[in-house]
């Protein structure tokens, strides 16, 4: 075959090819555009779902930060037999109870809302009045104080449009008179779990989460970073390192519930006293988080250019000095990013904690690492399972709190990564 033929034939062939090419162009560009739109569609879909999720949680969660309150006035002066100094002593509420505050609030309520007032206000109403007095003892000298007390669960339900018709009617009337309002419930952030959605709070779970995370961090971070350093910088390829490496890579993908089974079978067997404790939860989550830290740590360490190691080695630095003087400081932002992401994942983890008894009802925040606690995601799970419909909004509110924490953590991670990405 002659590779180069007569130029005229060649030109003709070239022209016919170009004509064919021309003919196909429009449809090629169309499919290019289509492809692009499909990609944009995929991205937008994800963004939309995220938006839908956030908006639905936020809107319902916003309601969850509110509760139904009744406005009423309570006569004080001369009605409470209590020395103001008693309020500064321990258990001031006990003092007020003895002094007859519960009855006083009840009678004030029936004055304001009629004989069935007992069913309208929450059992805890007098406590809130009492706390008000404790924070400001000067109120004891007032004739009458204006208070907002939590409505009973039934009334709150009726205000939302549930429950029986009579109560709904009553709620509507009270609301019209301005006596029944939905008010922002600052107490939600400082109380703990309770049976009544009107008086639950998130602080107990939040504190439990923070303590659990602290344990996780203290265990997973050093171990993770040190193993990452070992594997990336020092380990010579042999069977041991292969096994370590395979273990870590697999652990990173082992379903979280399996870690729960591990915690149940190992940690709880070793420390039966500490069922439900942040210590055990933190240990279980640490095992889950550690591989994440190792893997991201290794990537960050790998990203430190070898030229820097070479430079330090050639200066006569020992391998340990190379790592602690140069590699670790440079890899640290990357390691921290990975750690934060791993911690964020641990913070949202539920299933393994269900396995180790962190689903208990705990009405007070944990006092130390070995006292029973619950954590935010488990609290969400428990509330989502509650009978009382008032919990639906509270669940969303708890989700909002959890999401805020996660968004902040992710935000920090993203910031760190953008800030320190590829400085060399």
């Amino acid at each position: 075959m002659n590779t180069f033929q007569d130029p005229a034939t060649l030109e003709a062939a070239r022209a016919s090819r170009q004509a064919r090419m021309q003919a196909g162009l429009a449809s090629r560009y169309r499919s290019d555009a289509l492809f692009r739109w499909a990609g944009l569609g995929a991205v937008s879909f994800s963004a939309l779902v995220l938006l839908l999720l956030l908006v639905s949680m936020a809107s319902s969660g916003w309601a969850g930060f509110h509760r139904s309150e009744l406005r009423m006035s309570v006569p004080i002066r001369g009605r409470l037999q209590i020395d103001p100094a008693r309020l500064a002593q321990p258990d001031p509420l006990g003092g007020l109870e003895v002094a007859g505050l519960p009855a006083l609030v009840k009678s004030a309520a029936s004055q304001a809302f009629g004989p069935e007032a007992d069913a309208l206000i929450s059992d805890a109403a007098w406590r809130e009045v009492g706390e008000k007095l404790v924070t400001d003892p000067s109120l004891l000298t007032r004739n009458v104080i204006e208070v907002s007390v939590p409505a009973s669960d039934d009334l709150a339900n009726a205000q939302r449009g549930g429950g029986d018709a009579a109560l709904r009617q009553q709620a509507a009337n009270l609301a019209r008179e301005g006596k029944l309002v939905r008010a922002f419930d600052t107490g939600f952030l400082v109380r703990s779990d309770a049976t009544n959605p009107q008086s639950v709070g998130i602080w107990g779970a939040l504190k439990g989460s923070m303590m659990t995370m602290l344990v996780t961090l203290l265990l997973a971070f050093p171990v993770g970073v040190l193993s990452a350093l070992y594997l990336e910088e020092y380990a010579t390829r042999n069977r041991w390192t292969d096994i370590i490496e395979i273990s870590i890579n697999n652990l990173a993908a082992v379903p979280s519930i399996i870690f729960g089974l591990l915690g149940l079978a190992v940690f709880l067997a070793a420390f039966p006293n500490y069922r439900s404790a942040p210590l055990i939860g933190g240990m279980t989550l640490a095992l889950m988080t550690m591989p994440v830290i190792v893997i991201s740590g290794r990537n960050a360490i790998k990203a430190v250019p070898p030229s820097i190691r070479d430079a330090a080695l050639a200066m006569g630095a020992s391998p340990v000095q190379v790592v602690f003087h140069h590699v670790l400081p440079l890899a640290l932002p990357g390691i921290l990013t990975g750690t934060i992401i791993g911690m964020a994942r641990a913070l949202g983890e539920t299933a393994p904690l269900l396995m180790i008894g962190m689903r208990a009802f705990v009405a007070s925040p944990p006092s130390d690492f070995t006292s029973p606690a619950t954590v935010l995601p488990v609290q969400i799970f428990l509330w989502s399972d509650e009978i009382d419909r008032g919990f639906v909004e509270r669940t969303s509110a708890a989700i909002v709190v959890l999401l805020i924490f996660l968004l902040v953590m992710n935000g920090i991670a993203i910031y760190l990564r953008n800030r320190f990405e590829k400085r060399w």
Binding site: R28, S31, D32, F35, R36, A38, G39, L40, G41, A42, V43, F45, S46, V49, L50, L53, P222, V223, L226, S227, L229, Y230, Y234, I244, I246, S247, I248, N250, L251, A253, V254, P255, I257, I258, F259, L261, L262, A265, V266, M290, P291, S318, V320, I341, A344, R345, G348, T350, L354, M355, R359, P377, F381, S384, V392, I399, L403, L406, L407, N410
Partner: protein
């Protein structure tokens, strides 16, 4: 003395040794020829410091473990202890109260019987604290003296300290192996027990899952057929979820790596990461409360009458959304690992971007993408909260996505938090299910990681 104090003491003494070693090394340097000694003063300092701190810390740990027993023995030998109730737990509770008062952790005892023990306790504590303190000091002194006397200008302190550091790193990396062993061990015993009651063949190949945790007597192996669970797991995690996640994830990755310009990418990528960071319990809640009713209504609207609220569809869809960022970032990595030269080569041939992506980049990145999908599947089938909250408990062996189905993870949670007693085969089946799940995800990961590795190596 509480162990906390011993720990502090260990650190304090270590610090003293550190300072001493350092100043000694500085002194060497002043006199050494040329001012050079083998190791920097800091290494000498660490050498001495570690020789003091490590043994004392070990002793503190040991003492923490044994001293309460010693104290207890000594209190029990006190005549006041004769009055104690014979029964163990109550007696221990009183001892505990007495100790709490003796150490100042509590103000008073609940049980007056404990009152008499407070003094003996106090005395015993004081005695053993003194012993602990003295032994700590002796150990610290011995370690310090031994190490300090070894310091010389040509002493290889650096090598030794660095060897200790390396040992620490190595031990840290062993934690991963221990964890894996722990997982296997915690699953294997109960699984073996389970298979002692139910034959593995019935379990792995039976198509009927209806264990009754309340039943008594010999278990009925035919009620432990796990195929419906495996099917539900695969149907939700590997079919429905992947039908959502693969196209959307892949197209997102393509868009982000090939089309979007930098500013768009800077916004979208974090958004996807947030989607990946939403806790599964939130997805579960979202699935149960928002998606499931919508799916049911939609199914009924198209004429599927027995559509369930807890449908495989709802759980699968939400799980798919959860997996999108995972697939997209794996695909992103794989596509990015294809050398720029491939893309340039294709573009220089006059290919459009879509052609370049479809015909060159994706085929070239395919091993990585496939491995990524395997990892995504392994994550989906191990996902728990979404199915617990949205998929249901019914072990149906059906292909209708609007029916309720159950999964392996759901049953693990149900069996372990349910009514069965702990040695009932229904409860033990959770561990066998966990074992299956572990082995399947292990296999998937193992294959996927090998594929990824080989693929990365192919492009250096």
């Amino acid at each position: 003395m509480s162990p906390g104090i011993l720990f502090f003491l260990a650190f304090g003494l270590g610090l003293v040794g550190w300072l001493a070693g350092r100043s000694r090394a500085w002194a060497f340097r002043k006199t050494a020829p040329g001012g050079r000694i083998h190791s920097l003063p800091d290494f000498h300092a660490w050498y001495v410091g570690l020789w003091i701190a490590v043994p004392t810390l070990l002793f503190a740990l040991l003492w923490d473990a044994i001293s309460p027993g010693l104290v207890l023995q000594s209190v029990l030998s006190d005549p006041a202890a004769a009055a104690l109730p014979a029964f163990g737990f109550e007696r221990e509770a009183m001892m505990g109260e007495a100790r709490a008062v003796a150490t100042g952790a509590a103000r008073a005892v609940f049980n007056s019987e404990a009152e008499g023990l407070v003094e003996p306790y106090r005395a015993a504590l004081a005695r053993y604290n003194t012993i602990g303190l003295v032994v700590t000091l002796v150990i610290a002194f011995a370690g310090g003296a031994f190490s300090f006397l070894r310091l010389r200008p040509d002493f290889t302190a650096r090598t030794r300290v660095e060897r200790a550091v390396m040992g620490m790193l190595f031990i840290a990396s062993l934690v991963a192996i221990l964890t894996t062993i722990g997982i296997v061990a915690s699953l294997v015993f109960e699984t073996v027990r389970f298979f002692g009651m139910v034959s593995p063949v019935d379990f792995l190949f039976g198509t009927h899952w209806a264990p009754d945790p309340m039943s008594t007597g010999t278990p009925d192996g035919s009620a432990f057929g796990a195929i419906p669970l495996f099917w539900g797991t695969i149907y939700i995690g590997a079919i429905i979820a992947m039908a959502v996640a693969i196209p959307l994830g892949l197209m997102s990755a393509v868009y982000l790596t090939q089309y979007a310009d930098n500013s768009v990418r800077k916004i979208i990528k974090p958004l996807l990461e947030i989607l990946a960071g939403v806790p599964t319990v939130v997805y579960g809640y979202f699935a149960a409360l928002t998606v499931a009713p919508a799916v049911r209504d939609a199914a009924q609207a198209i004429g599927i009458s027995n559509a369930s609220t807890e449908s495989a569809m709802a759980a699968g869809l939400v799980m798919g959304v959860m997996i999108i960022p995972f697939v997209s970032s794996m695909a992103d990595d794989s596509i990015a690992a294809v050398p720029q030269a491939m893309r340039d080569g294709s573009l220089a041939m006059g290919a459009t971007r879509a052609e370049t992506i479809r015909k060159v980049l994706i085929p070239a990145a395919l091993p990585g993408i496939v491995a990524g999908i395997m990892l995504a599947i392994s994550r989906a089938i191990g996902e728990t909260m979404i199915v617990v909250m949205a998929a249901g408990a019914a072990a149906n062996l059906t292909a209708n996505p609007f029916e309720s189905m159950t999964t392996v993870t759901f049953q693990i949670v149900a069996m372990l938090t349910g009514e069965g007693s702990f040695d009932h085969p229904a409860t033990l089946s959770a561990f066998a299910l966990g074992m299956v799940l572990f082995l399947v995800t292990l296999t998937l990961n193992f294959i996927a990681l090998r594929v990824v590795k080989r693929y990365r190596e192919a492009y250096e």
